[in-house]
C-alpha cells in the first residue's frame, strides 16, 4: 500500500475518522498501532510479525538497561540488542550479497566455489526501523532518554505507519513524548498536513515518475543514447531521486500532522548546498545525523587528527553507502562521497592559509559556481547509485565524457529542461515554512483553496501512465 495508491485513501480515511472520534489518547494509540501493523501486513504479515517480536525484545532490553546499574550487564544487553537488530538486517538484506561477494573473491583467487542463493524476502523499510531501534537502545544505554514504560507507545514509535517504510528515521526523544501527549483537533495543523501531502504528491507523481520515463531507458541501454541525452538523464536522475524521496517524506510529514504528530525535517533544499559537507547536512537529514551520532562520533569523529578524521569520514560514508543497498555500486557511491568530504576538508585547510580563495567563493559568482560544482559532483556520484552494476556505470561515465552519437531521449529535451526548471521552483517550495509564511498566509481563503484545487488538478493531469514505487522502499 503506497501513500498514493487507491487502497490507501479509504484506509487512511477510516483510521483518521476513528482516531479523532475517540476521546482518549490511550485509545488513539491503540488505533494507530493496529493501523500501522495492518499497513505493514498488507505487504507481508510474517514480516510484520518479525517487527513486532524484535520491537518487543528491544523494549524489554531497554527496560533492563534502565533498571540495571551493573555496567557489564548493561553492555551485554546493549550488545545483544545490536547483534539482534544488525543480525536481522544482515540476514534479510545482505546475506546474498555477502555470499555472492565471497564466491567472486574465491573465484578471483582461483578457487572454484559455488555459493547458494537464499530465497530471502527483503522486509520493506528494514533499514529504517532497525536504525530507529538502535538509536533508542543506544540512547537508553547512554542514559540520554529514559526507557519507555508503555509497550504500545514503544511499538508505535517503531511502527507508526507514516514513517515506517522509508523514514524519516525518528529519534525516541522526539517522538515518544508526542505519543503520550493528548492531541487536540487543530484546523491549522490539518491545513499544514494537507499542504505537505499535496506537495509530496506533486514531487512524486508529477515530477519523479515523469523523469523516470527519461532516466530508465538511458540506464537500461546507455549505448543507444548520445552524450547530451546521457547528461540530461543523469541530471534528471538527481532531480528524480530528490523528488521521489523528499516527496515521500513530505507525504509522511503531512499524514503525521493530520494525526497530531510532528516528524523531523529530512530535506532542506540540498541542491542549493555550496559544498558537499553542507549537502549532507541538508540531504536525508535523519540518516546523516544518525550516521554522525551513532557511527562517526563513536569512531572518534574529528578529534583524533587529520588522518583519523579522514578514516572516520570514509568509513562512515562507505557504511552509509552499504546501508542503502546490498551492492558494490552503493559502496562505491559511499566511497565517492567519503572522498568528496575529505577533499572538502582539505580545501577548508587550504582556505586557512589562502583566505583570498575563501573570500572569492563567498561572492555571488563564487557561491553560484560552488553550488553548480557541488551539484555536478553529487549527480556524478548518483550514477553509481542508480546503475545496476559497474559495467553500466562505466558506460554512463564514458558517454558523459567521451562524445557519442546516438538517439534522443523519449521525452523532447526542452520538455525535460522544462521539468528541471519546474523543480527549481519546487526546490524553492521545499523551503515550505518560510515560503508559506511569506506568501500563502497573506492570501484570502478562497485564493488558497483555488491554489489547492489547481495543485490537485495539476497532479492528476501530470501522473504518468505508469507510476513507479518509491525508490527508497527498496532500502
Amino acid at each position: 500500500m503506497l501513500f498514493y495508491s487507491p487502497e490507501f485513501f479509504p484506509f487512511f480515511a477510516i483510521v483518521f475518522a476513528v482516531y479523532w472520534l475517540l476521546p482518549k489518547q490511550s485509545l488513539r494509540t491503540w488505533v494507530l498501532l493496529a493501523a500501522s501493523f495492518y499497513f505493514y501486513a498488507t505487504w507481508n504479515q510474517w514480516l510484520a510479525l518479525i517487527i513486532g517480536v524484535t520491537s518487543v525484545i528491544d523494549y524489554v532490553v531497554a527496560r533492563g538497561l534502565d533498571a540495571s546499574t551493573n555496567q557489564r550487564w548493561r553492555r551485554t544487553l546493549l550488545g545483544g540488542s545490536l547483534v539482534m537488530n544488525l543480525g536481522l538486517l544482515a540476514y534479510f538484506k545482505y546475506v546474498n550479497f555477502f555470499l555472492d561477494s565471497l564466491e567472486m573473491s574465491m573465484q578471483a583467487a582461483g578457487m572454484s566455489l559455488s555459493m547458494p542463493t537464499l530465497q530471502v524476502i527483503l522486509p520493506i523499510g528494514i533499514s529504517f526501523y532497525t536504525f530507529e531501534a538502535i538509536n533508542y537502545t543506544v540512547d537508553v544505554y547512554r542514559k540520554r532518554v529514559p526507557a519507555e514504560r508503555s509497550l504500545p507507545h514503544f511499538l508505535l514509535f517503531i511502527t507508526f505507519f507514516p514513517h515506517l517504510v522509508a523514514g524519516p528515521i525518528v529519534r525516541a526523544r522526539d517522538f515518544l513524548p508526542q505519543i503520550a501527549q493528548q492531541k487536540r483537533w487543530d484546523w491549522s495543523r490539518m491545513q499544514l498536513g494537507c499542504e505537505f501531502f499535496l506537495l509530496g504528491l506533486f514531487k512524486k507523481l508529477a515530477i519523479a515518475d515523469r523523469l523516470a520515463m527519461v532516466v530508465d531507458p538511458v540506464f537500461a541501454d546507455t549505448q543507444a543514447y548520445n552524450t547530451s541525452a546521457v547528461w540530461l538523464a543523469v541530471v534528471a536522475y538527481s532531480i528524480q531521486i530528490y523528488c521521489d524521496f523528499s516527496g515521500y517524506t513530505d507525504m509522511a510529514i503531512g499524514l503525521a500532522h493530520t494525526l497530531g504528530f510532528k516528524l523531523a525535517k529530512n530535506f532542506d533544499m540540498p541542491y542549493a548546498s555550496v559544498n558537499i559537507s553542507e549537502f549532507w547536512r541538508r540531504w536525508h537529514i535523519s540518516l546523516s545525523s544518525w550516521l554522525r551520532d551513532y557511527l562517526f562520533i563513536p569512531l572518534g569523529g574529528s578529534r583524533g587528527g587529520t588522518w583519523l578524521t579522514y578514516r572516520n569520514l570514509m568509513l562512515t560514508m562507505t557504511l552509509g553507502g552499504l546501508w542503502h543497498g546490498a551492492s558494490w555500486t552503493f559502496v562505491a557511491w559511499g566511497i565517492m562521497h567519503g572522498t568528496f568530504l575529505i577533499l572538502h576538508k582539505q580545501l577548508q585547510d587550504l582556505w586557512i592559509v589562502w583566505p583570498t580563495g575563501k573570500r572569492l567563493l563567498q561572492t555571488h559568482v563564487g557561491r553560484a559556481v560552488s553550488i553548480a560544482l557541488t551539484f555536478v559532483c553529487v549527480s556524478l556520484a548518483w550514477v553509481c547509485f542508480r546503475a545496476p552494476d559497474f559495467a553500466t556505470a562505466a558506460q554512463v561515465y564514458e558517454h558523459l565524457f567521451v562524445p557519442h552519437a546516438g538517439t534522443r531521449l523519449v521525452i523532447p529535451n526542452d520538455g525535460v529542461i522544462m521539468i528541471l526548471l519546474a523543480v527549481l521552483a519546487a526546490h524553492f517550495i521545499g523551503h515550505w515554512h518560510a515560503w508559506r509564511r511569506r506568501s500563502l498566509q497573506q492570501l484570502p481563503a478562497p485564493a488558497i483553496g483555488l491554489a489547492y484545487a489547481i495543485a490537485l488538478v495539476g497532479i492528476i493531469v501530470l501522473i504518468p501512465e505508469y507510476s513507479k514505487p518509491f525508490i527508497y522502499f527498496q532500502f
Binding site: 531507458p217 488558497i448 483553496g449 490537485l456
Partner: protein, 366 residues
Amino acid sequence: MIVRPNSRRAWLSLAWGVFFFASAAAVLQVLAAPAVERFRDPPYSFRRDKLKERLKTLEASIAEGAPRPPLVVTIGSSRILNAVDCQSTELVLKQRLGQDVCAANFGSPGFGPLHSLVLLGRLLRDGIQPDVVVIDVLPLYLAKSSESQLPKEQWIPITPADKAWLADRDIEVEVTQPDPQGLTLYHSRTDILASCMPKLLPRSRATKWVTTTDAWGGRRTPPIANQAMKTQGLELAKSTYHDTLRDFEIGEAGLSAVRVLLTECRQRRIDAVVVVMPEGPTFRSWYRTGALHELASALKCVTRECGAHLVISSEWIEEQDFWDSHHLLASGAERFSARLTREALEPVLQGRLNVALQSTDATQLR
C-alpha cells in the same frame, strides 16, 4: 471546539479547495458528456466522420443503380489498429474482385469484445452498415481472470444510448458519466497534457493517437529507434499480460460477449471474421501450455455456432516484426494485411458478391 481566527481561515481554505476541485471535475464531466461527442470519444467520432466522407465520395462516383461498394470494417484492440492497412486492402480487393471496396480501421487501444459491441452499435446507429466486420479478439479479455474487467469499460465512455444498446442484449453496464469521483480527469490526463503541454509527454504520446491515424483509420507503429525502446515495450507487455496468460483459463463472460457480437452480425447479415492476431514467440511463450489450443477450440465453437469465419494468425509473423512481441511493426503489418486480405477477406467478399449476383439473376429470371 474552539475556532481561532487561524483555524477558521484554515478550514475555510480547505473547504474552498474541495469546492474548487469538485467544480473543476464537474466542469470536465459536463464537457465530456455525451452531447460533446468529439471531446468524449475522439477516436470514434474522428474516424466515423472520415469514413462518412469517403463513403459519400465513393457513392457519388458510382453509376446510378449500381450496387454500393461493400464496406469492410476492422474492430478490436491496438493490435488490429496497427496491423491492417486498409488502403492496400482496398486496392488489392478492387483488383481481385473487379469492383470498389471501402475499408476502414476502427481498432482502438485496449478494446475487447464488449467495446467492439458498443462500437458496432454506434456505427449502426450512425447509419453505417458494414458488410464485413473483422473482429480482433484480444485473448486477455477471454481469460477467466479478466472477467471482472469486462463490464468496466475503462477505455470507452459509455453513454445512455450505449447502455440501452447493451441492455437490449442482456448486458448490464454502468453509464460512465457523470463520474462522481473525478476519474474523468484522471482518465483524460494524457489527452489534456497532449493539448496543453505535449513536450512533457513521450514523443509517441504527444499527440492524440487518433490524429496520427491515416485516412482509413489505421496507424503504423512508429519505427523503433533502438533496442532499449523495444525492451521497454516488451517489459510493459510482460507486466500487463504475463500473469494472466500464465494462468490462462477461458472464461464464460468473455466468450459470451463474443457470441453476442457475432449473433448481432449474423442477424444483420454482416459477415463476421474473427481474428486471433499474430503474436511473437516470446509473447506466445507466456501462455500456459495448451492455453492457445483451448483458445482456438473455444473460438472455433463460437464462430461455428454463429456462422462466422475464424482466422488464427497467431504464428504468421516472426519476432523481429513486432515492437513488443504483440504489436506489429510496419514490416509485419504489411505482410499480415496482405495475407489477411488474400486468405480471408477476398473469399468472404467473393462469396457475398456471388450471392448478390445469384439473387440479381433470380430476380431477372422471375
